[in-house]
């Protein structure tokens, strides 16, 4: 059992600090909207098609409104206006709206305004009901074919071609995988739109599109039924389209999403205002959809050293938890990220990794947690790499991880081959079977290396949280405290997609989601 290590009061104090850190960012979030949020609103209304050269209709429409300087009243409002102009369908609404001359965009009478909002609200409600009924189907399937016990074994597919991905995902499910992650094509984070349709050409991954989600979920539904074991699907909701992807994922009944503004800020140089705002709306959608989010703290220690920067992971997790809770997510939805990444040529790494994982467990006892295997120090020696993964399997079962990414023996070379997943699954099954319950067998000595290290890391994390509280999150990021990467508040991509909400800003989805 993870020791107490840390006093309950200390942990509570960390949560208070996180609240205080997050407060100013929530001011920002409340005051602003983004192109991505507005496009998401339109997608909710069913605007999912694409125009010439694959540009999504939602983008066309939002760009038009933005160019006209009126997007700050909310796309929902304009959608309502378009309907009032006689549009019979979402598609027509787009057409009408994009055809409007700018001078036709002035205000309406208060009464008309009010009616319009009421209508749009009603439509929003029915759109959400529609989504809920889709999700109910997913939940029914989950109930019918219960998942295997945690840690849920999570593997990636990344061929670049959705149809190949389906083949590989089915194979992985048949070999025992519980969660399939379709890795996105490199740099999709930087696209300010969600590509359209089924795609077959990606690099290091496959484009995240609504159609690709549908295709994969359909295949996994089939496998779930065949295997009598529900297989989860996950993708990425980060980068410039966080909330749109969250919508697509919810609509297509995904189970999980990698969803983390910090990842975009640090590793994709996405503007922080933009992505914090997008993150909020995306998490509201996840909250509704019963989607488990995975956070990306594990990434910090691919650029920073896992031993030295262990506390940054803990500090960030408290902040991320707070962001998530405020967006309505429940504990069971928090796949808080961490990983087994300390240089294996150091001494005591099993003790250190156990310490860190136990500390995370101690801090977030009710969250499933998402545990990453070694990646950075992986070697091309596949046999060593495999042994190294096996130890991560052990720590995962020991510390009761909810979601365990399986290490791949070829991590240091290429995205996994079909056989790599099989090898990883077979070993993880063995380790889980062999060691389940080991946490109940041993008591950690409160004066040992594990406990001392946990206390030390927690202490450093508290200091960092204090600094973030005192100087602000922006300053902390600016100093490179997370992942050794420095970012400025107004730097990075996508800031021009952020705009202050008009006083009469209208977003019925946000209203409803916040109310539930």
């Amino acid at each position: 059992m993870p020791g107490p290590f840390i006093d309950d009061a200390q942990i509570a104090h960390a949560r208070t600090l996180a609240e205080e850190i997050v407060n100013p960012i929530f001011d920002l979030i409340r005051r602003n909207t983004t192109v991505s949020i507005e496009r998401t609103v339109l997608r909710f209304f069913g605007i999912s098609g694409a125009g010439a050269r694959g540009v999504p209709l939602a983008n066309l429409m939002v760009d038009k409104l933005k160019a006209a300087g009126v997007l700050n009243r909310g796309a929902a409002y304009w959608y309502g206006r378009a309907l009032h102009l006689g549009a019979k369908s979402p598609l027509e609404a787009v057409e009408r709206l994009t055809a409007l001359p700018t001078d036709k965009l002035g205000p309406l009478s208060p009464e008309v305004e009010q009616n319009l909002r009421a209508e749009v609200r009603a439509e929003a409600r029915s759109a959400l009901e529609d989504m809920k009924s889709r999700l109910a189907a997913r939940d029914a399937l989950r109930q019918q074919f219960p998942m295997s016990p945690a840690p849920h074994k999570y593997v990636i597919v990344a061929t670049g071609n959705i149809y190949d991905d389906v083949d590989q995902a089915r194979a992985a499910a048949q070999a025992g995988a519980d969660v399939i992650a379709v890795i996105r094509s490199t740099a999709q984070s930087l696209l300010d739109y969600v590509p359209h349709g089924a795609t077959t050409e990606g690099y290091g991954g496959t484009y995240a599109t609504q159609e690709n989600f549908r295709i994969m979920r359909e295949a996994l539904d089939e496998e779930s039924i065949k295997l009598k074991r529900y297989i989860q699907l996950t993708n990425y909701s980060s980068g410039l389209c966080m909330s749109e992807i969250a919508f697509c994922a919810a609509y297509e009944k995904l189970d999980m999403l990698l969803n983390d503004a910090m990842y975009g800020i640090l590793f994709r140089d996405i503007n922080m205002r933009r992505t914090f705002i997008d993150q909020y709306f995306s998490r509201r959608i996840c909250a509704l959809a019963g989607i488990i989010i995975n956070t990306g703290e594990d990434n910090y220690i691919t650029t920073a050293d896992a031993y030295d920067a262990a506390h940054t992971v803990i500090a960030s997790q408290f902040i991320n938890e707070c962001f998530a809770k405020r967006a309505g997510l429940k504990d069971w939805q928090l796949g808080i990220g961490h990983s087994y990444e300390i240089d294996p040529y150091r001494d005591d790494t099993l003790l250190l990794e156990l310490s860190q994982a136990m500390l995370v467990r101690r801090c977030f006892p009710d969250a499933p947690l998402k545990y990453m295997p070694p990646t950075k120090h992986k070697e091309t020696d596949i046999f060593f790499s495999h042994a190294y993964d096996v130890m991560a399997d052990l720590v995962a079962i020991w510390t009761k991880q909810g979601i365990q990414l399986l290490g791949m023996m070829t991590e240091a070379m290429h995205t996994p081959l079909l056989a790599d997943r099989f090898v990883a699954l077979k070993s993880a099954n063995y380790i889980h079977r062999a060691a389940r319950g080991i946490d109940e067998e041993f008591t950690v000595r409160e004066d040992g290396k594990i406990a001392n290290r946990a206390r030390d890391v927690f202490g450093q994390a508290m200091k960092l949280l204090q600094e973030c509280r005192d100087e602000g999150m922006v300053a902390a990021i600016g100093k490179g405290h997370f992942g050794d990467v420095k970012r400025e508040e107004t730097g990075g991509k996508g800031l021009d997609g952020v705009m202050e909400k008009a006083p009469d800003y209208f977003n019925p989805f946000l209203e409803i989601l916040e109310a539930t």
Partner: protein, 261 residues
Amino acid sequence: MVKPSKQIIRPYGDRRDDGVVQISFTLPVPLSEKAKEAAAVFTKKMGFSDVKVAAAERAADNYTFFIVYARSGMYLDYAEIDVPEVIVKKMSFDDLNAFIKEKVGRRIVVFGACTGTDTHTVGIDAILNMKGYAGDYGLERYPGFEAFNLGSQVPNEDLIKKALAKNADAILVSQVVTQRDVHKDNSRHFIDAAKAAGIHGKVQLLLGGPRVDHKLALELGFDAGFGPGTKPSDVANYIVHALLKKEGKEPKDAHYQGEPA
């Protein structure tokens, strides 16, 4: 029988037919850039393309261990693969015993041993002993069989002599040590001894072990071969039908398949 149509297959790494193969080997040279290049050249010489020398590890001062990923241009027509397979078991324990009683009308006598210098009895015990293997009873437990397990390191001649004395229907030879093909040498020696004793072609001769398959056993002069994972019931069923065929009570080309209910 209609010849099945072509079914071309290649290795599947990340995509259908990409031909990706993982290879590892050791070269007797110290680790160096030159050694890595040698590994790449060697892999190309073996006919692979797209050669990626993934790892070059210093296995010792003068040995480098390589892990290579590469593509093979080779393919295969799966429809043309033809494997001689031993009859798969058909009857349950009780059914088979009843069947023996009815059709053979007496207990079938089998002798088994791990012969030569081999002492690995676990395999032959699995087939013959009461306990059996993986929940499947051994031949000693079958009322329809009378099984003698002579154990390990039994000289081939002794096994044959003792089997002859009891008029055995089948002799079971287990061979586990295979280094430098000692199992093949010993098996050939067994067959020579069986010929000398005049039982070859008369008594059923079965060979088994981790590196044995039906094809190899046939090549060596046995009537059947059984490899890893063999269950006692596979062997029991085979012996009964082979006996009935020999006694003319079953057509020579009868073929049985499927698991018992």
